[in-house]
Point group: C2
Chain length 395, copies 2
């Protein structure tokens, strides 16, 4: 008898990742890559593990190192989220927080409310577990409270997954009013919130907005954070904080998933933050990225003036460029790569398939101001050519 | 409206872990713990990260560091498993390999063939995803090929999960004949094999047995390995190797789960192995654990002579003690802990519930020969008392 393979049904939802393929191409050092969301390597801190205690090499606790959990809880209190160390779980990157959320909530047919557009790798995980997506339109102030309320009434999602601060892919930052209204609606209907904030600390201006979770009084919440964007992604340390009643579930799910996260990286992060080096580093990082954001803003104004619109982000890693013509930007990608520039087509960021959204996500953290100038110029020429071709076809 | 929580159905299968609770108690340094499977900390290598290249702190490849994948493929070839680097995926501990296997194969009702007894934390993950367990009895030579063939005919499992070398919890090592017969049966029926071998390198005598996967010609195979038992578990690095056709699935599942594993730990392991330090370390470790195994054998002979039977392991971390009287050893645990000795009750290791299996798993790697002598003496007294109480009740 031949080979017999009985995969779980979810494997039908295991789609190839466009991002993965683009990122592999974009690793070519000759390419100016606006595609990924990679921190600039030259400004990363250089970890020193030489003072780590030897105990750190033994098995550890599923929830994470007590010192790091305490530091994270303090940080969260500092941004208004009442949170004790016992509500914090250290994860192997914030991607793992998404995997744990999917394990807790998602099975075939589970309705999940997401922004349109939203973080691609989150929808991939939710889809793998069988989620049906309910999309809520996003504008620079956030999702619309009215639409949220209507979608909850109609579809009753298991949870809402939102990225309110310097959203991926748009860079939008939810306004104070929207945060308050969304918290009230989720509370009223008892819908759990999954708030993903890997970019919060990359702010270029003063950001006073508390997390939405901080404004919720009744409904359960899960808050995901990461050290990948502010320190070293190769260490794979993120965290999940949650309402107290959810913690026993996440502890056990974490234990079943990988027992616990790498301890040496946890030790170093706790040391780096508590010895006072983290905040000055963060300040340098903000200035560094603000300069690149500024360079991209200038280049966009120079080359995309009338061809596109965008909202200048106040933090994070991305511009979301909306072209006047709603073309499918995936069509532009092969030629862009031939001309040594990579970007992420907007279509990839919608949980439910869209055609011709006419948008691009442009990362500014990884390229120098000169590369940004050069790359945006090339992209603008490509878009211009595509528009002319379309106009000719329409004639 | 009150709090609304719609968990996935799998959460009903998310049982509390007896092991977890026992291990927490056993962390008390006053307790002689035979409960866990922890390496002895005093013989762990002390990683030196000072020569790590700075690139290692950036995001990396989902499949793992190329240098480490190559080393693992070479090691596997050395034990007879034909395997290219492209068939190796570095995982965040071998526990994550089990999670990825569950994601690929297991949904509610999926039949999974396991040994009875087997590794507790594997059945927990498979159960979480909805597995139904088909148990195959285990003797010191391995599972019975006849029973395997019969169970395949009757129940057609999605895969067989086996731990052929120094099995957890029994310490048994499958014979050459059984390995060959099992490979032939799985091949004939095209049943995928998941072969979990975290203990293979902890051999006290010369072990020439190839993995079962190495003897398979047709059916797909997955081989799980770990560096946690031979180096530092706190680094959380294990691996999965598999038939080439399975690799694209595992790559994507890994990416969705945590993007990739900690790179600094991968770098150090590749360096530690390739600079020639690993093999001498392994030799010291084998001698160290062999001495403790010997001490436990002697103590068992001294104190458990007629009360129990056991099979002296030729490697790994555990003795599997079968009492003459089939009592539920969970009943002994509170008193044992009061007397400052911890062990793992045998009942915990059966995928389907059993009562009164009359067995204990005893770890010998973590305790000194003196502690082993003292702890086994206390356990023997407890078992003796329990037997007397049972005899009185029977009168």
């Amino acid at each position: 008898m031949g080979t017999y393979m009985m995969f779980a049904q979810r494997i039908e939802n295991l789609t190839g990742s466009l991002v993965r393929e683009i990122l592999q191409v974009a690793q070519n050092p000759e390419i100016i890559s606006f595609a990924g969301g990679l921190p600039a390597p030259e400004i990363m801190p250089l970890p020193d593990f030489s003072q780590a205690p030897t105990e750190i090499y033994q098995y550890g606790l599923s929830e994470g190192e007590p010192a790091l959990r305490q530091i994270i809880a303090q940080q969260l209190k500092g941004i208004g989220l009442a949170c004790e160390p016992g509500q914090v779980l250290v994860t192997s990157g914030s991607q793992q927080g998404i995997d744990l959320v999917a394990k807790l909530f998602v099975e075939p047919g589970t309705p999940v409310l997401v922004e349109a557009p939203t973080y691609l790798a989150a929808t991939q995980v939710f889809r793998l577990f069988g989620a049906e997506f309910i999309e809520c339109a996003l504008d620079p102030q956030g999702i619309s409270p009215e639409q949220l309320e209507q979608l909850i009434a109609e579809k009753r999602p298991a949870f809402a997954y939102l990225i309110p601060t310097f959203q991926n892919p748009t860079g939008f930052c939810y306004s104070e009013a929207r945060r308050r209204d969304i918290a009230a609606i989720l509370d009223e209907h008892g819908i759990p919130l999954v708030e993903d904030e890997p970019y919060r600390e990359l702010n270029f201006t003063d950001i006073k907005h508390r997390p939405i979770a901080a404004q919720m009084k009744q409904a359960p919440w899960i808050y995901l954070g990461s050290f990948s964007k502010t320190t070293c992604p190769g260490l794979r340390i993120g965290y999940l904080a949650c309402s107290p009643q959810l913690m026993p579930y996440f502890s056990r799910l974490k234990q079943a998933t990988d027992l616990h996260s790498n301890r040496i990286a946890q030790w170093w992060l706790a040391d780096f933050i508590s010895n006072g080096a983290y905040l000055p580093h963060l300040q340098r990082l903000r200035e560094y990225y603000a300069e690149r954001c500024e360079a991209m803003e200038a280049a966009l104004q120079r080359y995309f003036g009338t061809m596109a619109s965008w909202h200048r982000p106040e933090g994070g890693l991305f511009f979301w460029l909306r072209l006047q013509q709603a073309i499918d930007t995936r069509m532009l990608l092969p030629e862009a790569i031939q001309m040594k520039v990579a970007f992420m087509p907007g279509e990839a960021f919608y949980a439910n398939p869209v055609a011709k959204c006419g948008a691009m996500r442009l990362n500014f953290s990884r390229s120098t101001p000169e590369e940004i100038e050069r790359g945006i110029k090339i992209l603008a020429r490509l878009v211009e050519q595509a528009s002319e071709t379309l106009a000719e076809l329409a004639d």
